[in-house]
C-alpha cells in the first residue's frame, strides 16, 4: 500500500495538531455535503487489480495481434528496448517541471538535448520543450503568427490536406476569435500551388502538412516564397520520421515547424500521450508558447541549464501570457530524444527509407488488382490512397477476419473520398504481410 500511517502515528499527529479525530479537520466543509457515500467499487489488492487490467487489455486486439496497415496520424513503429528502460527511471518519471535548476539538471539537459535534436531534424533555429500533440502544436502556430502581426492580420489559410483532427482542434481553439480561417474548401487533389492565389496582405499564416494527410510529398519552396512576398508566415506540420530522408522544412524556408512526434519511439497507446513538436526561427522565439531551456553558468563556473524566457509564460504574465500552457510532454520528449540519439544519423535515415520502399512496394502490388486504383498523383512517403471497388467498411471487415487491420476510411472526413482507403506501411510490415494484404484484397476484387 501507499499509505504509511499507523494508528499510533495518527493519534500522535492529531495530538500535535490539537484535534481529536481526522473528521475534525474538515469543519469548513458544509456539513450537509460532508463525507458523501460514493458509489465506487471496493479496493483491490495489487494482484487482483493486475488481473482485472489484464482482462481489459486482453479484450482488445492490438497491433501486436493484428497486421497493421492503419496510420492516419499515429504510426506503428519499432521502439528500441533502451527507450523504455530510460523512461522507467524514477528520477525522470517522478520529477516535476524543473523550477529548481540546481536539482533538476537531468531534466533540463535532456530537454536541451531534445531541443537540439529537433532543430537539427527540422532545419529550424529553435525548438520549445514540446506541446501536447500534433494538433495542439498546429493550433499554437496560429497564436504565434497572430501575435507576430499584433492582431493586424486576420486571415489564416489551412490546407484541406491537413489532418482533420488538427483542423478540428484549430477551429475549437479559434471559435469566436477575430480570425478568418479559410482554405479547407479547396480541391484536395490539387497541390500547394492552389493555395497561392488565396494569400494576400491580410494573411498571417498558411498551414500545410508534410507529408500531407494523404501521404503526398511536395516541395513547398514556391508556396513559402509566395507567402513571404505577401509578408505572411508559413507553418509546416511534419511527420518527423519522414525527415530522416526528406528535405527539411527549413530548406523550404518555413517559419514554423510543428508535428506529431509519436513516430519517434512513442507507443500507439490508443491515441496518447503523444508529442507536439514546435520549432521556429530565432526571430519568433519570444512569440512562441511553451517551455524553453537555455544554457548559462552557475556560481561555480560550470555550464548549466535553466528554464528561460519565462516572462512569456502564464505564471508570470497571467492574462497577458503567450498561451495558458503550463506543462510540456516532458517524459515523451525524453523518449523521442533517446530514440533519436540511439538511431542517430544512420538509423533514422535507414528506417525512414525502409518505410518509403515498403509502402511503394505495397502500392505497386495493390494497384495491379482489378478495381483498385492509386488516387495519388504526387510522390508519396509511407501512406497512399487507394480507390476501392467496395466500401472501405466492408473491405476492412473482411480484412479483419484474416487478422489484418486495414487502412483509414477517408470517407469519414472527406465525403468526396467515399470508397477511398488511406493505407500505411512501416518497417513493421514484412513483405509476407504486404503480400497477404494484397492476396486478401484480391479476393475482394474477384468477389
Amino acid at each position: 500500500m501507499y499509505l504509511p500511517h499507523t494508528d499510533a502515528e495518527r493519534k500522535a499527529m492529531l495530538a500535535t495538531i490539537g484535534a481529536e479525530r481526522l473528521e475534525d479537520l474538515f469543519q469548513d466543509v458544509p456539513a450537509k455535503y460532508r463525507f458523501p457515500e460514493l458509489n465506487l467499487p471496493q479496493a483491490l489488492t495489487e494482484m487482483e487489480a493486475m488481473g482485472e487490467l489484464q482482462d481489459l487489455a486482453w479484450a482488445n486486439e492490438s497491433t501486436h495481434d493484428l497486421i497493421c496497415f492503419l496510420g492516419a496520424g499515429a504510426y506503428n513503429h519499432y521502439i528500441p528496448a533502451a527507450v523504455d528502460a530510460i523512461l522507467r527511471r524514477g528520477e525522470f518519471l517522478t520529477a516535476y517541471t524543473p523550477y529548481q535548476p540546481e536539482i533538476s539538471q537531468g531534466t533540463l539537459r535532456a530537454i536541451f538535448d531534445y531541443q537540439s535534436l529537433i532543430t537539427s531534424l527540422t532545419g529550424m533555429d529553435v525548438s520549445n520543450a514540446s506541446h501536447y500533440d500534433g494538433a495542439t502544436a498546429a493550433a499554437e502556430a496560429i497564436s504565434l503568427a497572430y501575435a507576430n502581426f499584433r492582431g493586424k492580420r486576420t486571415k489564416v489559410i489551412l490546407s484541406p490536406n491537413l489532418h482533420p483532427h488538427y483542423r478540428q482542434t484549430i477551429h475549437t481553439y479559434n471559435h469566436g476569435s477575430p480570425l478568418e480561417i479559410t482554405g479547407e474548401q479547396l480541391d484536395i487533389s490539387a497541390g500547394p500551388e492552389a493555395l497561392i492565389p488565396m494569400i494576400d496582405e491580410n494573411t498571417a499564416l498558411v498551414i500545410v502538412q508534410y507529408p500531407d494527410f494523404f501521404g503526398r510529398i511536395y516541395d513547398y519552396t514556391a508556396l513559402v516564397e509566395a507567402a513571404h512576398a505577401m509578408g505572411a508566415l508559413v507553418s509546416i506540420a511534419v511527420n518527423p520520421l519522414a525527415l530522416g530522408m526528406l528535405k527539411t522544412p527549413g530548406e523550404f524556408g518555413a517559419d514554423i515547424v510543428t508535428g506529431e512526434g509519436q513516430p519517434l519511439g512513442i507507443p500507439l497507446s490508443f491515441g496518447g500521450p503523444y508529442l507536439g513538436i514546435f520549432a521556429t526561427r530565432l526571430e519568433y522565439v519570444r512569440k512562441m508558447a511553451g517551455r524553453l531551456v537555455g544554457e548559462t553558468v552557475d556560481n561555480r563556473g560550470q555550464r548549466a541549464y535553466v528554464l528561460t524566457l519565462t516572462a512569456r509564460e502564464q505564471h508570470i504574465r497571467r492574462e497577458k501570457a503567450t498561451s495558458n500552457i503550463c506543462t510540456n510532454q516532458g517524459l515523451i520528449a525524453l523518449a523521442s530524444a533517446v530514440y533519436l540519439s540511439l538511431l542517430g544519423k544512420y538509423g533514422l535515415r535507414q528506417v525512414s527509407e525502409i518505410c518509403y520502399h515498403k509502402a511503394h512496394y505495397a502500392a505497386q502490388q495493390i494497384t495491379k488488382l482489378k478495381g483498385f486504383e492509386l488516387w495519388n498523383q504526387a510522390p508519396f512517403y509511407h501512406e497512399f490512397v487507394v480507390r476501392c471497388p467496395e466500401t472501405v467498411k466492408d473491405i476492412n471487415a473482411y480484412l479483419l477476419e484474416y487478422g489484418i487491420l486495414g487502412g483509414y476510411d477517408l470517407g469519414q472526413a472527406y465525403p468526396q473520398l467515399e470508397n477511398h482507403m488511406l493505407l500505411t506501411v512501416t518497417e513493421m510490415n514484412s513483405r509476407e504481410e504486404i503480400d497477404l494484404l494484397v492476396e486478401t484484397l484480391a479476393e475482394v476484387s474477384n468477389a
Binding site: 520529477a95 536541451f112 507507443p267 496518447g272 544554457e295 538509423g347 510522390p379 487491420l405
Partner: protein, 490 residues
C-alpha cells in the same frame, strides 16, 4: 565534470541501432525531395544509456526523496500503474481501430468517466484534455458555448481571485474572455463585497480553486456560488486541489458547474519532468451536450445473465464545442489513474484525502512557531508560510528553498500565491510518513535558526547539489537554446 551533452559525445561513424535490410525491391526516390545532410548524433547503445542514466542522477524526484511542492501534489506514483499502462493490449492499440477491436479500452474509459462523475458530483465527463491547463480551456469554452446557445453573448466577464494559479487568467484571455481579478478577504476567502460588485449581466463566470492556493477551504463557498448563479453566471472549479476532497465533498454538490481534474496530481500518474498530464473535465447536466467530441458511450446494453458485456463506442455530443486535441486524450494516463482508483476503492480514496490533510496540518503545527503563517487556520492538503523574518531582513524565501536542498529536500513552491510575500507553499501529500515529515520539519526549524545566526549558509546554498545557483539573466540575454547545427558530426 558533469555529464556533457549529446553533441559533445558523438563520434563520426558510430552506429547505435540497425533495422533489418528491406525485403522488398527498392523504389525510386525523387532526388529533389531528399535531404543531403542529417545532422544527428553518432553513438552506440552504451553511450546513449549511460548518458541518459547519468542525466537522471542529476534530478531530485519522488522516488529519491520528499517533494513538498505546493499545488503540484507530488505523491508517490505506484509502480503497478506503470505495468498496467504497458500491457500490450493497451500500449500497442491504434486510436483509429474499429470499435469492436478496442472494447477493453473503451470499457476502461467509460468506467473512468463514471467514477470521475461520482467523485466530483457531475452529470458528464470528458477525458480528452491533455493537461490541467487544457482542461481549464475546455471548461471556459464550454461556458462560452453555453451562453452562446442561450443568446447571452454579452456575458464575456470571467472573475479570477487574486490567489488563483496563473493558468486561470491566461486561459480566460486565450478564450477571448475579459479577466477581472477578485481580491481575497483577510481570512483567505473570496471577498464577498468585491464579488457582489461584479455580479451583473456581463458576468460569464467565476474560476474558483477550492481549497484555494492558500490551502484553505473557502468558508463562504455556498454563498459565493449562489451569488454567481443568481447573477446568471457559471462557476468553474480548478480541480488542481482535488486531493483534499476525495470522499470529503463533491464539488458538483456545492454547485460548481464545471471542474477539471488533474490525473497527474490527484490520481497519481507520474509528472514525468513536466508532463504528460491529463485533465478530464466534469460538468453539470446543463453543460453535458457541449462536451468535446468524442465521449465514450454504451451503444448497446449488455446482458449480465448471458454474461454479455455492453458494446462501447465513441460519440459526439449534440452541441459539442469540437475537438481539443487529436484522438481520445492521454489514454496511457487514464490506464494509470484507473489502476490507482481500483487499488484504493471508495474507502481508500477518502483516506487519501484525510491523510493528505492530516499531513499538511501536522507540518503546519510543527512549523507555526518558526515561520509566520499569514492565513492561519485549519488547512486542507497544503498551507502557505512566509519565508521572511523582520529580524533577518536579507533572507528571502528563495534562500530558504536553496538551503533545503542541502538537507536533501525539494523546496516548496516559491513566490506563489502572489498574495503572500515571500511565500513557501507546502504540500506534503498523503504518501509521506511521520518520520519524513519530522525530518523535514527539523530541517525547516534549523534553517529558521540559521537564517538568524549564520545567514551566509542560506545565501551560499545550495552546496551539495550538482550545480550551484545559476545566472538566469545570462540565459535570457545570451540565448543559447540548442547545440550548434552540425555539432553532432564535427
Amino acid at each position: 565534470m558533469l555529464e556533457p551533452l549529446l553533441c559533445d559525445l558523438s563520434v563520426p561513424g558510430r552506429v547505435g541501432f540497425r533495422f533489418p535490410e528491406p525485403d522488398v525491391p527498392l523504389a525510386e526516390i525523387p532526388e529533389n525531395l531528399v535531404r543531403q545532410n542529417l545532422p544527428l548524433p553518432e553513438l552506440y547503445e552504451v553511450d546513449v544509456v549511460r548518458h541518459f542514466t547519468r542525466l537522471s542522477q542529476l534530478n531530485h524526484s519522488i522516488d529519491t526523496g520528499f517533494y513538498p511542492l505546493g499545488s503540484c501534489t507530488m505523491k508517490y506514483n505506484p509502480k503497478l500503474n506503470e505495468e498496467t499502462a504497458r500491457l500490450p493490449g493497451f500500449a500497442h492499440l491504434h486510436p483509429m481501430q474499429p470499435i469492436e477491436t478496442v472494447q477493453g479500452s473503451l470499457a476502461l474509459m467509460y468506467e473512468l468517466q463514471e467514477w470521475l462523475k461520482e467523485i466530483g458530483g457531475f452529470a458528464g465527463v470528458t477525458l480528452q484534455p491533455a493537461a490541467g491547463a487544457q482542461g481549464e480551456l475546455t471548461g471556459i469554452l464550454l461556458i462560452r458555448a453555453y451562453f452562446e446557445a442561450r443568446g447571452e453573448t454579452q456575458r464575456v466577464k470571467i472573475l479570477v481571485p487574486d490567489s488563483a494559479h496563473g493558468t486561470n487568467p491566461a486561459t480566460s484571455a486565450m478564450s477571448g474572455m475579459h479577466v477581472i481579478e477578485l481580491k481575497s478577504d483577510d481570512r483567505g476567502n473570496v471577498d464577498l463585497q468585491a464579488l457582489k460588485a461584479e455580479c451583473d449581466e456581463t458576468l460569464a463566470g467565476l474560476m474558483l480553486t477550492n481549497p484555494n492556493t492558500l490551502g484553505l477551504f473557502d468558508e463562504n463557498v455556498e454563498e459565493v456560488i449562489r451569488m454567481v448563479h443568481e447573477a446568471g453566471g457559471l462557476v468553474y472549479g480548478d480541480g488542481a486541489n482535488m486531493n483534499a476532497l476525495l470522499g470529503i465533498v463533491r464539488p458538483g454538490d456545492l454547485g460548481f458547474d464545471v471542474l477539471h481534474y488533474n490525473l497527474h496530481k490527484t490520481f497519481s500518474t507520474p509528472h514525468g519532468g513536466g508532463g504528460p498530464g491529463s485533465g478530464p473535465v466534469g460538468v453539470a447536466a446543463h453543460l453535458v451536450d457541449f462536451l468535446p467530441a468524442p465521449v465514450v458511450t454504451i451503444l448497446e446494453a449488455g446482458d449480465e445473465g448471458m454474461e454479455l458485456p455492453p458494446l462501447y463506442g465513441l460519440e459526439s455530443p449534440p452541441k459539442s464545442i469540437g475537438r481539443v486535441k487529436s484522438f481520445h486524450g492521454h489514454f496511457g494516463m487514464m490506464v494509470r489513474a484507473y489502476t490507482y482508483m481500483r487499488v484504493y476503492g471508495k474507502e481508500g480514496l477518502r483516506k487519501v484525502s484525510e491523510y493528505a490533510v492530516l499531513n499538511a496540518n501536522y507540518l503546519l503545527a510543527r512549523l507555526r512557531a518558526h515561520y509566520h503563517v499569514p492565513y492561519d487556520r485549519v488547512c486542507m492538503h497544503e498551507f502557505v508560510a512566509e519565508g521572511r523574518w523582520p529580524d533577518a531582513p536579507d533572507i528571502h524565501a528563495l534562500d530558504i528553498s536553496k538551503r533545503l536542498m542541502d538537507y536533501g529536500f525539494h523546496p516548496p513552491t516559491n513566490y506563489f500565491p502572489l498574495i503572500v510575500h515571500e511565500s513557501l507553499m507546502i504540500e506534503p501529500t498523503e504518501t509521506e510518513s511521520k518520520q519524513v515529515l519530522d525530518e523535514f520539519a527539523e530541517a525547516m526549524i534549523k534553517i529558521a535558526s540559521e537564517a538568524h545566526s549564520e545567514p551566509e549558509l542560506l545565501k551560499n546554498a545550495p552546496q551539495i547539489t550538482p550545480v550551484g545557483r545559476l545566472d538566469e539573466v545570462k540565459a535570457a540575454k545570451e540565448l543559447v537554446l540548442c547545440c550548434a547545427v552540425g555539432a553532432y558530426n564535427r
